[in-house]
């Protein structure tokens, strides 16, 4: 039996007033197994980042439960538990501009984590580690002394990745970690993430909208839409046999690097439908779950 490292149970995260809430995340449940990559895709604004940020304890969640290694992350009472959690779970943020302090050098940004946790007391060792991390994300040691604002978008994102790796976490929430990178660096970073996963048994929640890369890196994929998970299953299965009309629409919109194909592309539009109140998560095929009513499902299959 695979071990569940993260369990999200009926997570609800609302913003704004209680009277007129923005239902950013509206009751989602999923598990992430140790050593796997779960891809989270979906429309812009559907609540992917909010999901990641709620798991990271950056918000007070409205309702639900988040268990990390079996322990409710909102029940930590001691500072030690909190510190340990933040060592184990790291996030690579979506926006490489907003998430790096422009007045810090790349080296300072990367070392911030280990300075807070008091690792590498010896200066030479610390410098050595910074250099290693920079190189592991395809930058070079000389970059350590340059300020964040002097880097291009993709270079900044790699600094963010190096920072996330600095504490040797066991779980990484990667929020669009590669969309600002060119394809070759994307390949480098994805290879790096895969290699780290193999070597250290890392677990990833990988948020992205580039479905070809998500399919490549993920073991399973969850498709999110307006605060809900509509479909969840093995990556190949979701890709080859989508069931929910939204997933079908999403897949039909993936651009292919082929001008002739693109000129003839036919996109399947999706007409928004409220999820009926009696919809439930149904295992439509083996290990392939859909949020639907029985009637909807029989129509879609």
């Amino acid at each position: 039996m695979r071990k569940k490292i993260l369990e999200v149970k009926n997570l609800i995260q609302h913003f704004g007033s209680a009277k007129e809430p923005i239902k950013a995340v509206d009751g989602i449940s999923f598990d992430v197994f140790e050593g796997e990559t779960l891809g989270l895709v979906g429309e812009s604004g559907c609540g992917k980042s909010t999901t990641g940020r709620s798991i990271m304890r950056l918000y007070d969640i409205t309702e639900g439960e988040i268990l990390f290694n079996g322990k409710n992350v909102n029940s930590y009472t001691s500072r030690k538990d909190s510190m340990q959690f933040h060592r184990e779970m790291q996030m690579i943020f979506q926006d490489p501009y907003a998430s790096l302090n422009p007045r810090m050098t790349a080296g300072e940004i990367i070392a911030e984590g280990f300075d807070i946790h008091g690792l590498y007391k010896n200066k030479k060792e610390r410098q050595q580690k910074i250099g290693e991390l920079l190189e592991s994300v395809g930058l070079n040691r000389e970059h350590a002394n340059r300020y964040a604002h002097e880097f291009s978008g993709g270079q900044r994102q790699r600094i963010g990745i190096a920072r996330a790796l600095s504490l040797n976490p066991s779980f990484i929430i990667a929020d669009e970690p590669i969309s600002a990178l060119d394809v070759s660096i994307q390949a480098q970073v994805v290879n790096l993430l895969k290699q780290l996963q193999k070597e250290r048994g890392l677990t990833y929640l990988f948020i992205a909208h580039d479905l070809s890369m998500v399919k490549y890196i993920s073991d399973r994929i969850a498709v999110m839409y307006r605060g809900k998970i509509l479909e969840l299953g093995l990556a190949d299965e979701i890709y080859n046999n989508p069931i929910h009309p939204y997933t079908k629409s999403l897949l039909s919109a993936v651009p292919q690097p082929n001008p002739e194909y693109e000129r003839k592309r036919v996109r399947i539009p999706y007409k928004h439908e409220e999820t009926p109140a009696n919809a439930e998560v149904i295992e439509a095929r083996h290990d392939h779950f859909v949020l639907a009513t029985k009637e909807q499902l029989s129509k879609w299959l």
């Binding site: 390949a187 690097p257 592309r265």
Partner: protein, 348 residues
């Protein structure tokens, strides 16, 4: 005959930093015709954003320096224009969608107001009411749900992708002749991306807009571009029609790019074919071909002398010694050839 809107000649842009002078753009040449879309692709840090910011004369000086070259836009030579003259062009005749939506938006102003300001400033609406109506229409066009309600929100209340759509609405508001889009859809999901690309094409058709489209997504390039410029280390290394670049690439860097993408038909067990190594330091750009140190197929001359831009066909150019008549024949790597063949076979 189509009219030339933009002509960039031997453009050089440098930055003064503590470590030394960063030669971010090192002799870029291209032209753009009315109603045409040029996609710029290339390595992160290769100078795509600096090039497009230079076209708008948005390079901060200092630390930036226009170190040489010319930019002719719609009959004017931009390098010599004053900031005041540029202000009349920017946002009006040429508009830009920035890579980073947060720098383009005013965090303290409601998004609706940010759009109506542009409409009123460039006289695209003659009353406040008309501007408001048009702003809501634009928000709707870029796919913001409940545009009337969202009209009054602040940028930080929106998701990353929604912010970017607001930035796109602002750029489109002025109905510019030249639209420079720096990774406009990178933050968007594929369905919204497809809608935005369709919207941009519609506007291009009806207003004969020229578009410079910077993106990492080769699928998007295949979708939008008429022509493609591939950049590496501050230079354009290959230039041609979208078919030239996707079906008959000539530069080893372009081969590397096309080979790095995941192949959807293949298993995910094998690693992706990333180009080894990292890009050169632009403070001391290498002698010879800048890509040589990472190029497994490099020739001896690549390390000694910079290759000129060779003409491959009427539309196609490549800056590689492989195009020299006396160069040994080095075939395109097999993975790339296979990729092209399978995509031409139709099943992408």
């Amino acid at each position: 005959m189509k009219k030339k809107l933009l002509d960039v000649k031997n453009l050089h842009v440098h930055f003064k930093t503590y470590a030394g002078i960063v030669q971010a753009v090192r002799g870029v040449n291209f032209e753009l015709y009315e109603g045409e879309t040029l996609a710029i692709v290339g390595e992160s840090g290769s100078g795509k954003s600096v090039t497009s910011n230079a076209l708008m004369k948005l390079i901060p000086q200092p630390p930036g320096i226009y170190a040489g070259g010319e930019i002719h836009f719609n009959g004017k030579s931009l390098i010599s224009l004053s900031e005041k003259e540029m202000l009349a062009i920017r946002g009006n005749e040429m508009a830009m969608i920035f890579q980073d939506p947060m720098t383009a938006l005013n965090p303290t102003m409601r998004i609706g107001k940010q759009i109506t300001e542009v409409l009123l400033k460039h006289k695209k609406a003659d009353s406040k009411e008309a501007a408001k109506r048009r702003a809501i229409e634009l928000l709707d066009q870029v796919g913001i749900p409940f545009p009337e309600k969202r009209y009054k929100t602040y940028p930080h209340e929106l998701s990353g992708g929604m912010r970017q759509r607001v930035v796109i609405a602002i750029a489109l508001a002025a109905d510019p002749k030249l639209l420079i889009a720096d990774e406009p859809t990178t933050a968007l999901d594929v369905t919204i991306q497809a809608q935005i690309l369709e919207l941009m094409k519609e506007i291009q058709k009806s207003s004969n807009t020229s578009i410079i489209f910077i993106t990492h997504d080769l699928g998007v390039v295949a979708n939008v571009a008429d022509r493609v410029a591939v950049m590496y280390a501050g230079q354009i290394v290959e230039y041609g029609t979208v078919e030239d670049i996707f079906y008959d690439p000539k530069h080893p860097y372009t081969w590397g790019l096309l080979g790095s993408m995941p192949d959807l038909n293949n298993s995910s067990d094998e690693l992706l074919r990333a180009i080894p190594g990292s890009p050169p330091n632009l403070i001391n750009p290498p002698i010879g071909c800048a890509f040589a140190p990472r190029n497994e197929l490099a020739l001896a001359i690549d390390f000694e002398e910079e290759p000129p831009m060779f003409q491959v066909s009427e539309t196609h150019f490549a800056k590689t010694w492989l195009q020299h008549p006396n160069a040994p024949h080095i075939p395109i790597p097999e993975v790339v050839a296979r990729r092209i063949a399978s995509s031409r076979g139709g099943e992408a």
